[in-house]
Symmetry: C2
Subunit: 191 residues, 2 copies
């Protein structure tokens, strides 16, 4: 049933999805839906959790790597690209519903992205470049990174629909941007 929903949400959004539509796609009778979810919103929340599980794995794999800044940037962008490629439906769902019409789903996504930012912040604190940084500064940097990741993922999403060259350009741009941020980081407060 979740798969059916996800498949339909490829070119629709949650608010315009219908119970009957989902069950039809899943090959079940309409009433069967209510055996699993009370609401369509509930199905949405379930999809959020499913989607974020894989995202979580991705983020950790980026944070865990070691190497100099350049290598790290290259790998981060690459991981994002691969992730979008391999989980396109999930990523599309998240992008679409992040500001979508269903409050509960929006809140679930936002809360989870906030948790990601916290995790990234904790990882940043461990790097030597961050010595002397305040909590607030770390947090804002983490949010900048997360926002940038989201933007990049969205861009990949639209690009990969067809254009393999545009995908390369997006990756190049993202790397440059991360390099600039990393530069600003090294010179923060005259460090």
């Amino acid at each position: 049933m979740l798969d059916a929903g996800l498949h339909l949400l490829a070119d629709q959004n949650l608010a315009s999805l219908g119970v009957r539509e989902v069950t039809r796609e899943a090959g079940l009778s309409p009433a069967a839906f209510y055996r699993h979810f009370p609401d369509l919103a509930a199905l949405g929340v379930a999809l959020v959790e499913e989607s974020l599980a894989s995202l979580h794995v991705m983020i950790r794999s980026v944070l865990a790597e070691a190497g100099d800044a350049e290598e790290l940037i290259d790998r981060a962008v690459d991981v994002i690209r691969r992730h979008v490629r391999e989980h396109r439906p999930h990523v599309r769902f998240l992008a679409r519903e992040r500001h979508g019409g269903v409050r509960r789903v929006r809140e679930a996504i936002d809360a989870e992205l906030g948790r990601f930012a916290a995790e990234v912040g904790a990882a940043l604190a461990l790097q030597p470049v961050s010595r002397g940084w305040s909590e607030q500064d770390l947090r804002m940097l983490a949010e900048l990174y997360v926002d940038h990741m989201v933007s990049t993922a969205s861009a990949f999403l639209e690009a990969q629909e067809a254009d393999p060259d545009r995908e390369r350009r997006i990756a190049a741009t993202a790397r440059l941007q991360l390099r600039l941020i990393s530069l600003g980081r090294r010179h923060w407060r005259g460090n």
Copy 2:
């Protein structure tokens, strides 16, 4: 009719909007809709244009200002906050439909954001800090700024629903982030 649509899209998204719903809100008969638009998508595109007109004005007003980097950042963030406050329905609409379920609307928004980036890029090229920057570098910086603006506007959108304190925190974070970017900019390629 546009106003009616915009009002309904406060807690719905375009794909789930109905012709009858719009006309009912506008106080007209269902058939009247087809006198103005062939489609609901067409109404969406019209709303995009309406929304982007005000956005355009905002961006120009930021770019036109002069002053040192700090002042510029403060004013930019302030303009964004004010804009979200005064045009909340339009901004909400853009955020929601940017990755929404209606292709034509999505494309219209993306094309226009691209044009914004070009405009920002042109303005950046005139600043002395950008001497020696390649076209590509300018473009990536412009996109970074535009993406950041979009993220910030989205954040304001959610915050202003109720919480006036959270709004101040978001503004503070945005300023820090812009400051960091501006720092990276000054040290780009060892300038």
